[in-house]
């Protein structure tokens, strides 16, 4: 069932690709650069966030006025604030595209579970950062969000009270609330970079930046939105009266909208289940190559005698599965006599793609069950038939 669904989704994804490819050449297909676009938006968010941080005062009586001052009186403040808001939306959109694209094209297979899992954590952190960002403005929406979140957190069995205290510094509105929220906005944003490092460790030459055309287009679109729909605060929060309405940002605040229909505890359980399922996705299809109908060629092996330590495989391995280590002895062939290094395969990272084999001009790498000899035999029989 799931397999058939995934096959259908893969077909649909590739169909979308061919449609986009009619407009853009392959190298500029924006769907191939969702990760790079996310990194672009994240960079914009960090830079504009630093600017906002310089003006923000995390206290009940000054938070709202400092944001208003920033928006109305500081030169370009309105624009920077808008860029921060709309980049966050753009970030969420491309992150979700990235998630679904890599899911549907099965890019979680073999040893690629670690980028997937770190990606799920990045997504969770992103949602959290987005919500705390809306709380910092301290308008009526912020107050409603804080009240709803605190209420929901307190209902979690066993750890509820502790959770609420950890998030908001105690019951009710304490003086700790806004400084703590400011940290909960910026701290996880730093955490994003920790998880990004994990996201990238198994990837050689990650596409961290989209092509210049798309960089300019994304930035231009954000600035255009900033001008067309200026970001404003709602009325300031009044502690004595609970706000009645909640303006929803669908990308970040959908759970709060859902609280109208579902009890908070159900929503929290749903979130846990969704995140748990997300972490489980790479292990849901533990198929070996033969089960996929592919030849099981085996993990690439270095032929020590031939390795010249030239590092070509090391540069080309897409999964960082090859490291160069100091060579204790020279190789056997003439070209390998003067080597200082030799290649070593990290077998747990190898996906058996054989790109290192194609990279090696010295025949020092082979897939154990698909040797150069086998390829030669196939070529010869093809030529003789």
């Amino acid at each position: 069932m799931y397999k058939r669904l995934l096959a259908g989704l893969l077909a649909a994804t590739l169909r979308v690709d061919t449609l986009v490819a009619r407009v853009y050449p392959d190298d500029f297909n924006p769907l191939y650069y969702t990760g790079g676009l996310a990194n672009l938006f994240l960079t914009v968010l960090v830079l504009s966030g630093i600017f906002l941080f310089l003006y923000y005062t995390p206290s009940f009586d000054q938070a709202y006025t400092s944001v208003q001052f920033l928006t109305l009186d500081v030169p370009y403040g309105q624009i920077i604030r808008g860029i921060h808001r709309y980049s966050a939306d753009g970030f969420m959109i491309v992150v979700l595209l990235h998630l679904f694209r890599n899911w549907f094209t099965e890019r979680f297979r073999f040893s690629r579970d670690e980028p997937w899992i770190s990606g799920m954590m990045l997504l969770t952190l992103t949602g959290f950062i987005g919500v705390t960002g809306y709380m910092l403005v301290w308008d009526q929406r912020s107050e409603a969000l804080v009240a709803m979140t605190a209420n929901a957190a307190a209902q979690v069995p066993l750890v509820g009270g502790w959770l609420r205290h950890a998030l908001f510094g105690g019951t009710g509105l304490t003086d700790l609330l806004l400084p703590r929220l400011l940290f909960l906005h910026i701290g996880p944003a730093v955490g994003l970079y920790v998880f990004l490092w994990w996201h990238y460790t198994r990837i050689r030459h990650p596409k961290v930046w989209p092509p210049a055309v798309w960089t300019l287009f994304a930035l231009g679109f954000v600035v255009l939105l900033t001008g067309l729909i200026p970001v404003t605060s709602q009325a300031p929060a009044v502690v004595s009266q609970r706000p009645q309405t909640l303006a929803i940002d669908w990308l970040f605040l959908t759970p709060y909208w859902a609280m109208r229909f579902l009890p908070p505890l159900v929503l929290i359980a749903l979130a846990v289940v969704l995140i748990g399922y997300g972490l489980y996705i790479p292990y849901q299809l533990p198929e070996t190559r033969s089960e996929l109908g592919l030849k099981d060629s085996g993990v690439a092996q270095v032929i020590d005698a031939n390795c010249t330590g030239c590092e070509l495989c090391y540069y080309d391995c897409p999964y960082n599965a090859i490291v160069m280590v100091p060579s204790p002895n020279p190789g056997v062939t003439k070209a390998a006599q003067a080597r200082k290094l030799r290649a070593v395969i990290l077998e747990s990272r190898c996906v058996e793609c054989g790109i290192c084999v194609g990279a090696c001009p010295f025949e020092a790498l082979e897939l154990p069950r698909l040797l150069q000899k086998d390829i030669h035999e196939k070529v010869l029989s093809a030529c003789q038939s």
Binding site: D17, D26, D27, Y319, C353, V357, P361, F362, A382, C383
Partner: protein
């Protein structure tokens, strides 16, 4: 057509030129395209060899095929930018370009070596591209490599040998002799 008699039979065979293709497991789905012996259903002169990723192909294997009687070789990978293994198709695209330049210096028509990029469900477009490639190769005279027996022709590959590296040379060792006429 008197000059046809001079040509070795490989290029002017009844079924068209002999073409060897390396097909990535993740690119065009081969079900329905390929017979049991690896030849393509619509183009019996094309034999496909399945490989785990287009980047797995050693350029030396393409040259090996050309030296052993193939009139054209190509590699097919996923669309550029969408390689399942991230960069395999970009890498093989570059390597095919390098091989073309190298073989052009050895008087081999670079159009005999192709790099195609088609996605899993683009079977029809892939067949069309292979047919176009096959037709193009069919129009080229003679075998891919000039026969080695005459002395002046042998000087060409030998002088270019150091460029290919000792290992690539090993890969071709024993291959060219004797099979040129097939």
């Amino acid at each position: 057509m008197p000059e046809l008699a001079d040509r070795p039979p490989s290029a002017a065979g009844r079924r068209g030129p002999k073409i060897v293709g390396f097909l990535c497991d993740w690119a065009v789905a081969s079900q329905g395209l390929v017979r049991d012996d690896g030849t393509m259903r619509d183009l019996p002169n094309v034999t496909l060899i399945k490989i785990p990723c287009s980047g797995f192909t050693r350029p030396a294997w393409l040259e090996f095929a050309l030296r052993n009687g193939a009139d054209g070789v190509f590699v097919c990978g996923c669309p550029l930018g969408d390689c399942f293994n991230r960069y395999g198709n970009n890498l093989i695209g570059d390597r095919v370009e390098q091989l073309r330049r190298r073989l052009e210096r050895q008087k081999v028509n670079p159009e005999r070596i192709g790099a195609l990029f088609y996605g899993k469900h683009a079977g029809a477009a892939f067949v069309d591209a292979v047919r176009a490639f096959s037709d193009r190769v069919a129009g080229m005279p003679g075998p891919a490599f000039p026969p080695r027996k005459p002395a002046p022709a042998a000087a060409g590959p030998a002088s270019a040998a150091p460029r290919t590296g000792p290992a690539a040379q090993d890969g071709q060792a024993g291959a060219p002799a004797g099979r040129e006429g097939t």
